[in-house]
Symmetry: C2
Subunit: 190 residues, 2 copies
């Protein structure tokens, strides 16, 4: 069991409908030492990929994103959420279905900051259905950038995102994979 | 001239209505090395204050916030923006007027993560009218926490936030203060 899994067992709270609350250390209150360790692990995994940019989405992806970017000594670029689909020649946009909030939004990224010369590492705190990850992939593809892989803190292995991404050939590194939250018990994938 | 001021002169873009765009290094694309240096400066300034928690607001405060929290080895807590004023016994809420977007929002923080034993350092990327800062102050006060001070990357010195905060007796450390953006020229306060 790794440091993140131990922390999830210790401080994570299971709620109905397969919700795992980790807002004491990951996405409301954030433990910088823990996230720093996760960033080091992602650096180690993707160290040979010549990453030029870390790409994430606001808000809770930013903390892990900036620490990963620091490890690689490259900029962090975070997509912003917009209610309506901005049509703007200066922006890449992608439509995303949100599992948590059960409604759609658009993510937007300025065209100035991602290019076909970039090799992008996509980072986020959670992976469930993979909708945010596929939105970021869509944006990187629109820019013609190379996608080195996807680094995730917590993957909900019983939802489809991880499976889809692996089947589509992406190099997905999830630092913890929840196999099940049934009966309020947190089980990790071996 | 410090490293942040040099960067603002080099990469900042002045737009009509006193808008300073710094989204190439501060609040869309983010330079982790620069933000890391700012975090070290805020640590140095507030090092004797026994900070127990760094408090900021999503989204662009999070990058500076997590690096400052790392310096102090304390948690980062970020307030979330909500469209409506949630009335929830588990949340502190404060109403905020947004200068940038010209509409009101509520910021919310879980009562679980801020207490009267806390000594809080409030951190944000920008200070203009001070509305976000006063919202965070309001939340810290509701929790009975001590406010050690406020650390800001860029203060727009020609708006009222900095003046109000200093007159109200807060220890405000702005790492750069823009005196004027008139005629598209960036002037810093000496």
């Amino acid at each position: 069991m790794n440091v993140l899994e131990e922390r999830i067992l210790c401080d994570g709270v299971v709620r109905p409908n397969n919700i795992l609350k980790v807002d004491s250390f990951l996405n409301h209150q954030i433990d910088p030492m823990l996230i720093g360790q996760l960033a080091v692990e992602l650096k180690e995994y993707f160290k040979d990929e010549n990453i030029t940019k870390v790409l994430t989405i606001e808000a809770s992806g930013i903390a892990l994103g900036i620490l990963v970017a620091q490890q690689f000594n490259v900029p962090l670029l975070f997509a912003k959420k917009a209610k309506s689909a901005n049509v703007d020649a200066d922006l890449y946009t992608s439509k995303v279905k949100s599992y948590t909030y059960n409604k759609d939004y658009s993510m937007i990224v300025s065209k100035k900051y991602i290019h076909e010369e970039d090799t992008v590492l996509i980072v986020d705190d959670f992976l469930a259905e993979g909708n945010a990850a596929y939105g970021l992939i869509d944006i990187a593809k629109q820019a013609g950038a190379k996608i080195a892989g996807i680094g995730i803190a917590i993957e909900k292995g019983f939802q489809e995102g991880g499976k889809r991404l692996r089947e589509d050939g992406y190099d997905l590194k999830s630092l913890s994979i929840i196999e099940s939250l049934e009966d309020n018990k947190i089980l990790f994938r071996k």
